[in-house]
């Protein structure tokens, strides 16, 4: 095995909601069958009381840590956090990570084949919500025979799912760690997502979402990714990483090529992204994030959310995150306090913007490990 990986993992699939028992979505539409791709690490105890559900962010997947083969040089997206002896210690915990509903990494989404037509859904795929994603995850957890999760954790859009879990199924969640997240998108966050969606839909190859048999809207999706990337960084991290550095040592080129390092970086990120991601999934997932409002999952209004819950919370924000700024985490903490819930909150000093939760961060790792070990 190469040194980059903490262990071998395997992508698995669970299919349910076969017609006529389709899943009823929040929109009222029916969807079935539904397949969910997931991976697990570590061993479930005989009492099934050591399961942690890790929920990925907007464009993540079930491959949270480990490698698929011994030759595989690319471990999962949270390898620094999940593995033997790490903050989420797979020698102690049974870790589950599933690709979200509406995604394109094995779970049912707009690029899946609609059994009724034999063709990919495209935009005939129903709009799914953060709550629908959680419904599907709960079906998986039930399928694995786990009555109560030790913890649910995730950052960004994953953090929204953590919150929806806690509001929907409080009795199933002993502890929750929402990282760099928000109880609802600001107008600014929705605006960035809308520009990203427009970039995709303006690409002539998008063809109303029905592009699976021809050229894909790669240019639009790459631009959408570039916009997203800007919101994940911070002014300071971009200054440190790129400044006004030019790619060639010579002076300005007086061309529209990627002269600045930052331009080249964004183009690279955009181009890399289109190789692995489906443009329609991007539309659906950003919409789900925009629609999310924790109040909608609250029985009896804002102060009714989490009523009867005994979940312990660790809420973490990052100082330079301007996509979901600290005030939004504080608004969440306020609701938790009002409901008498056990909550800890830490705002970690970081220059790296929204992305900070995915980067090596000693403080974050220590907090998560300590919080989990006390449950």
């Amino acid at each position: 095995m190469n040194g980059a990986c903490s262990g071998l993992v395997q992508k698995q699939f669970f299919t349910f909601a076969e017609p006529p028992h389709e899943l009823v979505l929040e929109s009222g539409e029916r969807l079935g069958p539904v397949t969910i791709a997931y991976e697990t690490l570590g061993n479930l105890t005989p009492d099934k009381d050591n399961a942690i559900l890790v929920v990925h962010a907007l464009t993540g997947d079930s491959h949270v840590a480990g490698c698929y083969t011994t030759e595989d040089a690319r471990p999962g997206w949270w390898e620094i956090m999940v593995g033997p002896g790490k903050a989420i210690d797979t020698e102690r915990y049974f870790v589950i990570c599933a690709n979200v509903l509406g995604g394109c990494m094995g779970s049912t989404g707009p690029s899946s084949i609609n059994q009724a037509t034999g063709r990919p859904y495209g935009v005939s795929f129903p709009l799914v919500t953060i709550g629908d994603m959680v419904t599907v995850q709960k079906a998986l957890v039930d399928h694995l025979g786990i009555a109560r999760l030790l913890a649910v954790l995730g950052g960004s859009v994953g953090g929204m799912q953590v919150l929806a879990w806690c509001a929907r199924y409080p009795e199933m969640v002993r502890a929750a760690i929402p990282l760099a997240t928000t109880p609802r998108h600001s107008a600014q966050a929705i605006a960035f997502n809308e520009v990203a969606r427009q970039a995709i839909m303006a690409d002539p190859h998008w063809r109303g979402g029905d592009y699976y048999d021809g050229a894909k809207p790669d240019l639009g999706l790459a631009v959408a990714r570039m916009i997203g990337h800007i919101t994940y960084l911070s002014n300071e991290s971009m200054r440190q990483k790129f400044g006004r550095q030019l790619r060639s040592r010579d002076a300005l080129s007086f061309h529209f090529d990627a002269g600045f390092e930052v331009e080249s970086y964004l183009r690279y990120q955009g181009n890399k992204f289109v190789e692995r991601f489906d443009a329609n999934s991007f539309l659906y997932l950003t919409k789900a994030a925009d629609y999310f409002d924790l109040d909608d999952y609250a029985v009896g209004g804002l102060n009714g959310a989490f009523k009867g819950s005994s979940t312990s919370f660790l809420v973490v924000a990052f100082t330079s995150d301007w996509l979901y700024p600290t005030e939004q985490s504080r608004a969440l903490v306020k609701v938790l306090k009002r409901n008498g819930l056990d909550v800890s909150f830490c705002e970690i000093q970081s220059d790296w913007g929204h992305d900070a939760f995915l980067l090596p961060n000693e403080r974050l790792h220590t907090l998560v490990a300590a919080f989990l070990s006390r449950i």
């Binding site: 306090k337 009002r338 008498g340 800890s344 830490c346 300590a370 919080f371 006390r374």
Partner: protein, 200 residues
């Protein structure tokens, strides 16, 4: 543990709900949790100290307690502790009113400004007092409120706050040891500790 904190801890009923404002590294909360089985919560503004508290298994929120404490529902706590911080509060009346809503009882401790050494410094040396308890210069002190034991009693009377218990103490050796001062406390004590509640 600091001598004043040991006295505060002795006033807390086992199994109660306790909020410590400016809890630092959580020494008092950890003690109360382990020895008295309290439900312990803290508010602390410094990230590093918050992280240490969470690592100890305490529930602690990072933030300014003047703002954070207002978010709780009435009677959320049996005791709210504000130790050696009241002299730094900008709006003490508003804060204490909030504390007596959110908590049933409040424990306040502060350095006594009428301690005889402080009086002598001002009288003979003629500079703003500096001591182990108040080690700052006038231009960098966070202690913007000058309080004496007598001032606090008058304050409680004027604002209709019930003083349920009070003790004056002298501390030594980085405040780790100390003794209770019964004779002429306003003159001889370095710290005052008050248990206050809502007036009947």
């Amino acid at each position: 543990m600091r001598f004043d904190l040991r006295i505060i801890a002795s006033w807390i009923e086992p199994g109660s709900r306790v909020l410590d404002l400016g809890c630092g590294e959580g020494e008092l909360l950890q003690y109360l949790k382990e020895q008295k089985g309290v439900k312990a919560t803290g508010i602390e503004k410094h990230e590093a100290e918050v992280a240490i508290c969470i690592a100890k298994g305490l529930s602690v929120l990072q933030g300014d307690f003047n703002l954070e404490v207002a978010d709780y529902s009435p009677d959320s706590f049996d005791y709210i502790i504000i130790s050696q911080t009241m002299q730094q509060v900008y709006e003490p009346v508003a804060l204490i009113n909030t504390l007596l809503t959110v908590g049933k009882k409040v424990i306040v401790s502060f350095p006594n400004f009428s301690y005889w050494r402080i009086r002598l410094q001002l009288l003979f040396a003629g500079y703003a007092p500096r001591s182990t308890e108040l080690p700052y210069e006038w231009y960098d002190t966070p202690n913007i409120r000058v309080i004496t034991l007598r001032d606090f009693r008058n304050f409680a009377r004027d604002k209709d706050i019930a003083i349920l218990k009070e003790v004056a103490i002298n501390t030594h050796r980085q405040q780790q040891t100390g003794n209770i001062v019964r004779l002429l406390p306003n003159l001889r004590a370095t710290y005052g500790i008050f248990l206050i509640g809502r007036a009947e």
